[in-house]
Amino acid sequence: MSIPPSPTTIDRIFREEYGRAVSVLIGAFGDIDVAEEAVQDAFAAAVSRWPQSGLPPSPAGWIITTAKNRAVDRFRKDASRQQRHEAALLLRQAEATEEESVVLDDRLRLIFTCCHPALARAAQVALTLRLLGGLTTEEIARAFLVPEPTMAQRIVRAKRKIRDAAIPYRVPTEADLPVRLSAVLAVVYLIFNEGYKASTGATLVREDLCAEAIRLGRVITELMPDEPEAQGLLALMLLIASRNKARCSAEGALVLLDDQDRALWDRELIDEGQQLVQACLRRNRPGPYQIQAAINAVHTDAYAAADTDWAQILALYDQLTTVAPSPVVALNRAVAVAQVEGAQEALDAVDKTHLTNYYAFYAVRADLLSKLGRRAEAATAYTTAIELTENHAERAFLASQRDRTDGGPLPR
């Protein structure tokens, strides 16, 4: 008999295995609600049994078997549901022979179902977190700053559309895969960014979101090892997350990359991210996530900000501009231009982006103007940037920059 598991162990197993169990149950019974109820039943049983009996040899297997039994029990009590389920099963078997797919894993099918283009992006994100991550409606609502009833309705509506419109539970065929995969990766990156952006309140859940996005990224790379963009996204998230501890001062103010204490960076995440970037480079099929990961890898190569290889970063931004041009990419590229070619060249590049509703446009512009000694214009740009951001840490940072610009000679 093994050692009785603690509640945190059961909690961790829940997080890790919920998505797998739900996806297997949907595969077996063809009904999301049935699958969720059964898996929740099984975990409730685990919470009451495991502390006495100890962990079973395969907790995931135990959960799935128990959930299947619970679902069958429920069907016996509910005849009309049983008919529906049998119909769904027949349909599923008929389809299984028709579909030629690259990978056949229930979790992968579930990710593609959650991120189906017929669902709105907000619903894709919520469903992915709910069905694959096992987050509660309350947790998802808190993370995305919407009222819980709104989030509950969003999830119910999405599940109803999957059922009523018959959104298929399968991995897209190879012809559709690139487009559909990019939606999946976009959802995961959105979850990561929601967690990464320091914001007021609910900080814990948001850090959880970063971890959840990375976990989903790992699941996708594990299930689709031949998709370099999936690896690129995972590398990108790992490298960005490696700086989490250095991004905020003790007072909660934002610390810029240049000013961060690099000893606080997480070496383990950096090593893993850099290895993934190396593996991507060897494949030589660069996409936007891989290139952004490579840019972050160059930053993490430098032990001090002054050692940063800006020429290489600029070259990578040029490549990113070719692969996925956007005004935001152009703005970020301008930051590298400032380092390599000078502030005036960077300012010219920034002014060509016309991102006049975006706080970062004014923040970057303000920084360049102050470097050029145009202090009054810089202060005005900082003020506009402050007005355009909702984020408290960013506001505080921009305000301190503006104050430095306003008073006396510039420190740099």
């Binding site: 119909a87 349909l91 389809e95 017929a118 419109a165 018959a166 298929p168």
Partner: protein, 116 residues
């Protein structure tokens, strides 16, 4: 199999000139042939303009009949196709072909109770 309604959303107003319309009508015709050949055909038809519509409302014991469409808008239902498809992806593929043939937006919506 499920039944899906493919609604053709068209702007209210004069139809395009014949030299624009004729190739579109030919494309729609071959789209219908393709549906029939695939066994996905249930029904399809184009509608006269919305000003030919009449609304009937139950009013106490009798019916109130009024001239015109139910709602005035810049866009209206111009025609419809009903297809049988195994799932939404298959229905959306027909929707994509309908959009290409008609050059108009297509709303794809499942019918109730047709899953079998």
């Amino acid at each position: 199999m499920n039944n899906y309604l493919l609604s053709v959303i068209q702007p209210v107003g004069d139809p395009p000139p014949p030299d624009t319309l004729e190739p579109i009508m030919r494309n729609i015709e071959s789209f219908h042939e393709e549906l029939k050949a695939a066994g996905a055909w249930v029904f399809a038809g184009g509608l006269f303009p919305p000003d030919t519509a009449t609304v009937v409302r139950q009013n106490g014991d009798g019916a109130l009949v009024t001239d015109g469409p139910y709602t005035e808008s810049k866009e209206c239902l111009g025609g419809l196709v009903i297809v049988r498809a195994p799932d939404l992806d298959a229905a959306l593929e027909w929707g994509r072909k309908a959009a290409r043939a008609t050059t108009l937006p297509i709303e794809v919506r499942p019918f109730q109770g047709t899953s079998e």
